[in-house]
Amino acid sequence: MAIIDDLFKILVFPGFLFVVNLGLFLEWLDRKIYARLQNRVGPPWYQPWLDILKLLSKEDVIPEGASRFMFTWLPVFYLAVTVTASLCIPVGTYAAIYSFPGDLIVVLFLLTLATIILFLLGWYSGSPFGRVGAVRAVTQFLAYEVPLVAALLTQALLADSWSISLVMARTTVGFPRFVVVHLTALAVALISLQGKLLRVPFDAPEAETEIVAGPFTEYTGRRLAFIRLAERTEMAVGVGLVSDLFLPFPARLGVLGFVISAILVTFVLSVLRASVARFRIEDTTVLAWKYILPFSALGMVLAIIVRG
């Protein structure tokens, strides 16, 4: 029975099905909030699922200049990597499937791998838009990755652990002494996450009006559906990670707390997306290295000081 139990955990809850559906739900939430902020009605709740179904039924085209092997398998890897990352995210008090000291590092590594795959997706799709997008994706990766890790490291320092579940349990330790540090790290993490998920103002790698869809330009049909699912899963993982590590609810209210935190984080990301214009890729780099990185370093120093 242990095998069935494990399979259920991996495939249904809190594994594949849960995280993919959470990702699609967050996508709807994001679109709905974005629409309402812009005084529009916005899509009905089932729209993301319909979009995926539609893509699955569409014609699948491999362009002439693309590498057939890479073009076929990269979307699958992309989804595999993001879903694997999700296995280490605890859903509130409901423990992650694979939980071990240092799982935070593994999640970060897997998310980095996702960006590398993004680069390869664009590079091997045989389209100039894909290539420009791929190079931009890597450039942007260099900009946000360090602050993101620094922000999470701050939390790890405060909790004195690299285990996500332990950090989660200790988010309120030292309250209210650590609040300033927490908030500094949270701000950096949210901005870097926006960059990680390629959302406005950091959507230069897939800027629609400039390079069509960047790395995804040539993708159609079920391959695009895989990429979409992978992106949504990445969003769920990113938002889940920030909720677990920074907000007090997941450790207190369990699964419900996790979902509430995820909604809160998504709301903030949506408002951020609605209130600014896109940065040029150079501006993103400058912003990240000149302002966000020192800010996150400051957070780390503060963390070390307050912990004494």
């Binding site: 909030i33 005084n39 009605v41 209130s275 600014v276």
Partner: protein, 118 residues
């Protein structure tokens, strides 16, 4: 930017869920043109002036031919209504004219095989 965003969040959306909800068409909208055949004298002026060649004069068995509108070609300019010496043609505010076949977009119903019928 932020105050405006938050205000919009709690405002009624500016868009509507068409076709469940509809924005009423204003009076005087230049929609589907119709002809009151009791006033028509069959002078062909509308057909001559129509910039889109959307008005066909059809012999319906009466003394003079009658204008038939092809709504698929119509540009809804309203020149026919301006031209008509008897003011028999008017533009309604009906603008939802999509159909699956061009044959459904003819003002006078035509029977298959016959040239025209009333």
């Amino acid at each position: 930017m932020l105050p405006e965003l938050i205000r919009s969040l709690f405002q009624k959306p500016a868009t509507v869920r068409y076709p469940v909800e509809r924005v009423p068409a204003p009076e005087g909208l230049r929609g589907k043109p119709v002809c009151d055949y009791s006033m028509c004298i069959g002078c062909r002026m509308c057909s001559r002036d129509c910039p889109a060649a959307a008005i066909e004069m059809v012999d319906t068995g009466e003394r003079t031919p009658r204008p038939v509108f092809h709504y698929d070609r119509c540009a809804f300019c309203g020149q026919c209504a301006d031209t008509c010496p008897k003011k028999a043609i008017s533009l309604t505010s009906d603008y939802e004219l999509s159909a699956f076949s061009k044959d459904d977009l003819v003002s006078l119903e035509r029977r298959r095989g016959e040239s025209a019928a009333g």
